[in-house]
């Protein structure tokens, strides 16, 4: 492991420098909380936050995104022809991505970049982006990344991992993209190899600060229909108000709805994030709704993340343990509790042995 050591001055100079080559995003304080924003000139990413309220998902996959334009003027040559909007993305860098959020990108990629289908909008934005992670030195009470496929120093999905040690920063390049970014920033001071031991210790300490977890080892072996018919869904869904908070704050929720908006004789075809919590999500043109009542929608969200995804890809759960849905759910539906219930569910006895989260 070769670490690059960056002091505060060269950090600021480097960020300033890379803005010539990249559109740089980072966490900044907005009203009461931190959000990822495009950094303006002289604006620095603010690392003084445990994590942003919303994940950086929207930088690659905006909540509303125009895909096509059209013209309804019968006299025009291009009448009723869907024209793809310009879809060229200049290089972007997202600085300060926490390892949990970083893991969400390879997870979401399994949906948007498949052998059969390539979502050009998502892929182009993703490929143009360099992900600069920020290791977590301490965890929130709702963090459970270590049982969701990553950890506070996790590297999957990142091009560079930054480790903050007081005023000093250490950068570890993980990919070629990462090398290019570090070079563009002009950071070149190799850290003493003795630092590796210190960083290992920081990593161990950070991992031990994660105090909650989920059990996922049994999920794959459960019979889908037995879980689907489990008696706990109605009870667990009682408090749910079917808002879209959990799905919108989730870094791994990828569902969208396509809408046409016509103004006069021209229009746009766009996609907007959608949520399986909404009745409209599954409302058929016939008037039938296969997920008519709320417990069915709650069940869908958890079954998708913790069972269907697990079965389809065999790459763990579709959750990175960031804890946002737990912190922001207005009625305290806790994915840790539901996951553990699913993992320990025994249809034969219908007994749920739920360790408290």
């Amino acid at each position: 492991m070769t670490l690059i050591k960056i002091d505060q001055q060269s950090w600021a100079a480097g960020i300033d420098k890379v803005k010539a080559d990249y559109r740089v995003f980072g966490p900044v304080k907005e009203k009461n909380d931190h959000e990822f924003k495009l950094l303006e000139q002289d604006q620095m990413p603010d690392f003084n936050c445990q994590n942003t309220r919303l994940s950086p998902k929207s930088i690659i996959y905006p909540q509303s995104q125009v895909m096509f334009t059209y013209n309804l003027d019968e006299n025009a040559e291009d009448c009723r022809i869907m024209k793809e909007v310009e879809n060229v993305t200049s290089p972007m860098a997202i600085i300060g991505v926490r390892p949990c959020d970083a893991l969400s990108f390879p997870i979401v990629r399994r949906n948007f970049d498949t052998p059969e289908y390539q979502d050009t909008y998502w892929i182009k934005a993703y490929e143009a982006t360099t992900f600069i992670g920020l290791a977590c030195n301490s965890a929130c009470g709702t963090c459970f990344c270590t049982s969701a496929g990553t950890g506070p120093f996790g590297e999957e999905g990142l091009d560079v991992l930054i480790i903050a040690d007081g005023d000093d920063l250490y950068a570890k390049s993980i990919t070629e993209k990462g090398n290019a970014f570090i070079q563009a920033a002009g950071w070149s001071v190799k850290a003493d190899t003795s630092l590796d031991i210190k960083v290992d210790k920081m990593k161990t300490a950070a991992e031990s600060s994660i105090c909650s977890s989920v059990s996922t080892d049994q999920l794959k072996d459960k019979t889908t229909l037995e879980l689907y018919d489990a008696p706990f869904w109605e009870q667990e869904a009682f408090s749910c108000i079917n808002c879209g908070t959990c799905t919108y704050v989730c870094p791994t929720c990828w569902c969208f709805d396509v809408q046409d908006e016509t103004h006069g004789k021209s229009g746009i075809r766009m996609r907007n994030w959608d949520s399986c919590m909404y009745p409209l999500f599954t409302y058929h043109a016939s008037g039938h709704n296969p997920r008519d009542v709320k417990y069915q929608r709650v069940r869908q969200r958890f079954m998708h993340k913790l069972k269907y995804y697990v079965d389809k890809y065999d790459k763990g759960i579709q959750c990175v343990g960031c804890g946002r849905c737990i912190r922001l759910c207005p009625v305290n539906i806790d994915i840790r509790k539901i996951c553990n219930k699913m993992n320990s569910f025994d249809a034969a006895t219908s007994v749920c042995d739920t360790p408290s989260s």
């Binding site: 907005e30 009203k31 009461n32 909380d33 003084n48 445990q50 309220r53 919303l54 909540q63 509303s64 301490s138 929130c140 009470g141 709702t142 009870q235 009682f238 408090s239 108000i241 079917n242 808002c243 879209g244 908070t245 919108y248 704050v249 709805d257 809408q259 908006e261 766009m270 907007n272 949520s275 909404y278 009745p279 409209l280 737990i326 912190r327 922001l328 759910c329 207005p330 009625v331 305290n332 539906i333 806790d334 840790r336 509790k337 989260s357």
Partner: protein, 315 residues
Amino acid sequence: MTQYTDKIKEIANRVLTEGKVEMVIGFRKGSVPMMNQPHLATCAKSVDELVWDSSCGLNLANYITDKKGSIGVIAKGCDSRNIVTHIIENKIKRDQLYIIGVPCNGMIDHHKINAMFDTEVQNVEDSGDSITISGSGFSETMSKQELLAENCAVCTHRNPVEYDELVGDLVEEQKDVDQYASVTKVESLSADDKFNYFEDLLSPCIRCYACRNACPLCYCPTCFVDESTPQWVGKSQDPTDVKTFHLLRAYHCAGRCTDCGACERVCPMGIKIREFTKKLNKDCQDLYGWEAGLSLDERPPLDSFRTDDPDEFIK
């Protein structure tokens, strides 16, 4: 607070055992600080999970809408006013309900408390008049009055208005509070400044609809934003569509809103949504001398006609 919890459990057990109700709707302790969870108790085991403290701010009237059967429901002042509103709007029958009234001293504001500290709030201890907030490397005890949700700080109906049984003695109502200070401030702005104020207020909205869904008044079978033939409102993050949703929703609550604050409490982005409903509450007060949900015998001003209704707008 433990007296309230004990009494709630005692009543819930009794009404369930006597067969007065089939279920009791209350709160259980949440898995994160200040986030108690609405809870359905149907047996002794689930009754034992019921709690009461200063984090029971959601409005439980939202959980009785169109429910069948006999229901016990825990109700603080605002919940009881929304239950009254439900009854006069025919969403539930009075004789289906056993209302367990909770004289309330206000609920704390989790948005405000979380924003007060740079590091995560890990524990919140409720000792009645004081609240101790702690996390890694800090612990602070503050008076509850300073930490109240804004609607609770200006509440003048802390006691339930309709109940079958109370869990404790009635509390003294707050007097001499300026309920509409925030509205008066916005009213004094110029049209442009008002526009900018609301634009800024709503800019963080992610259209999750938590405000609508936590509101006991928002029970339309299909909300206007969800209708597709015709589609009244766009679905994107277009600021006009976002504003349309919030403004129309607020108007739909005119003369019905009890200022329970559920909309604001549940907003994941911490938007002060009451800025809209509060103005309409003030108008109802000024024009009709009306506060929602205080009586089962009086029709709301917007679904009744009186010869002395204000009519200055007719020229």
